[in-house]
Amino acid sequence: MVSQARLVSSTLIKKNWMTDEVVRLTFSDPHIPALAVPGQFVFLRPSPLNYPLLRRPYSLFDVDEEKGVFDLLVKVVGVGSRILSQRSEREMVDLIGPLGNGFFLSDNSGQRELLTWSDSKHLIVAGGMGIAPMHFLARRLKERGEEVVVLFGAVSRNEVLCSSEFQELGALFVVSTEDGSLGKMGKVSSLIPEYLSRDKRIQIYACGPRGLLKEVVELSRREGLLCQVSLEERMACGLGACRSCVCKVGTESQFEYKRVCRDGPVFRAEELVVE
């Protein structure tokens, strides 16, 4: 796949705080919305100063090709995300994107193989900010008339995000919280069995903390489900040059390191060694 990433300076046109810690940023850009596929990310400079030094990766929450805008969902966790969240509307943000390989979908202009069938049921499993790449994905699936269930896990109800956004798409949005303050109490992975059905091919798309991904991958293997996961690793270049962001592909005893930024961030569950 030939990358179509560009170095751009996009204007931040809207800020919308979703929770105390998560802000939705809307950028206008002539290229990225048209080029991007679900699961891809942008690599941006939180500040025009050289501090923090490195760029930060953010998934495309969604794009609007017609309006020429794209959205990111940014959780404030450290210095880079804090600075980014404090940028003002109309400021320019320096970014590279779209980057990485998105989810395997038949409409990725043929770049990745067909993995969707009309008799499929699509289970999106997201833990916390793992929800970020899923809106774009769910929309694409719904546009093709697919059945989409979003299982979202958070620590507590004040971290539950985007339920109305997904419901508007026509996806079923099911929540679990670890403290039981909203939805079922417990881990989101425990919701999965309920939504498995014998008569449909189940396709799982997962993103979130390592522990969750490990569970989902193991469950998929056990049940023979099609499963793809989107990984996070520390990045330096974001382009495939530095080999910072590697994950293991193969088996625990016989593996190869692959780059999350270039060979991922989406990988098939079968090939991954999730530690």
């Binding site: 030094l53 490195l54 760029r55 590279i96 330096a236 495939g240 590697v246 390191y257």
Partner: protein, 323 residues
Amino acid sequence: MGNNKINLEVHLGRLILKNPVLVASGTFSYEYTELIDISKLGAVVTKAVTLRRRQGNRPPRTWETSCGLLNSIGLENPGVEHFLEKGLPCWRRWPVKLIVNVAGETVEEYAELARILDGAEGVDALEANISCPNIREGGIFFGVNPEMSYRVISAMRSRTSKPLIAKLTPNVTDIVSIARACVEAGAEILSLINTLRGLAIDPDTFRPRLGKGFGGLSGPAIKPVAVGMIHQVYRALDVPLIGIGGILDYRDAVEFFLAGARAVAVGTGNFVNPRIPLEIIEGLTKFLEEKGMRGVEDLVGKVRFEVGATWPRFPRTEGELTI
């Protein structure tokens, strides 16, 4: 001003570059061709190539520090044969000079790499990354010792007629003694600095931030150390120098030229912004124009210490240290 013709060409011994702005080893790859016009660069330095394929270190492999980057990639690369078959032909599509950075675990490995690459068309120079541990000598780093450095460089020298660059590590008491040993062994160009050794620990998990533990520190944090070492070597030896360490803009580059570098390489800066090397070329051209200068040569080593200022003095050889 603005009228005189700027010529950015620099001569690093036999290696002639159309401009003095390189991209440093390990921080640039073929993927960058998608974002910038690499044919504008003075040269591309490849990621370290080793004799055999190396898997690299366990992740996490990088950690951002205050204005710095700590890394322990572990020389992941598919090995020299793969480089000749797959990597080199890609680079050769572009009209840009190519310097191949090599790393070995024994003197023989360095020599063998030099021999193999000597015949490779499209390889304009070799750069010996002597910051690696010598597995034969119990893991002591080649580049911290003048004799070991001498042995690596002279072994390579006898196997290749290509321009040979020795890349120095800053983790030494006396950079000049290492530099001198490399020049005596036949290095025609020196590049410095490689990363400073460092460690970062997560106070919550008690684990090192890098899977491997220790790493190498790069980025603007280390720039003053790099500029200082360039100047020390410049004052002591008559050899072309490539300045590396924390360069993010043309003013940083000028600082290195003034200290004594004849070319510069952008490392971590490529991660900050892939356009930095090209911006430096543009900025430098304008800067020279404004100063009414003809080329980079007018800057090299031109730092003006105050009359009466003293430099830190350093032992001239390791031997001199023993008193």
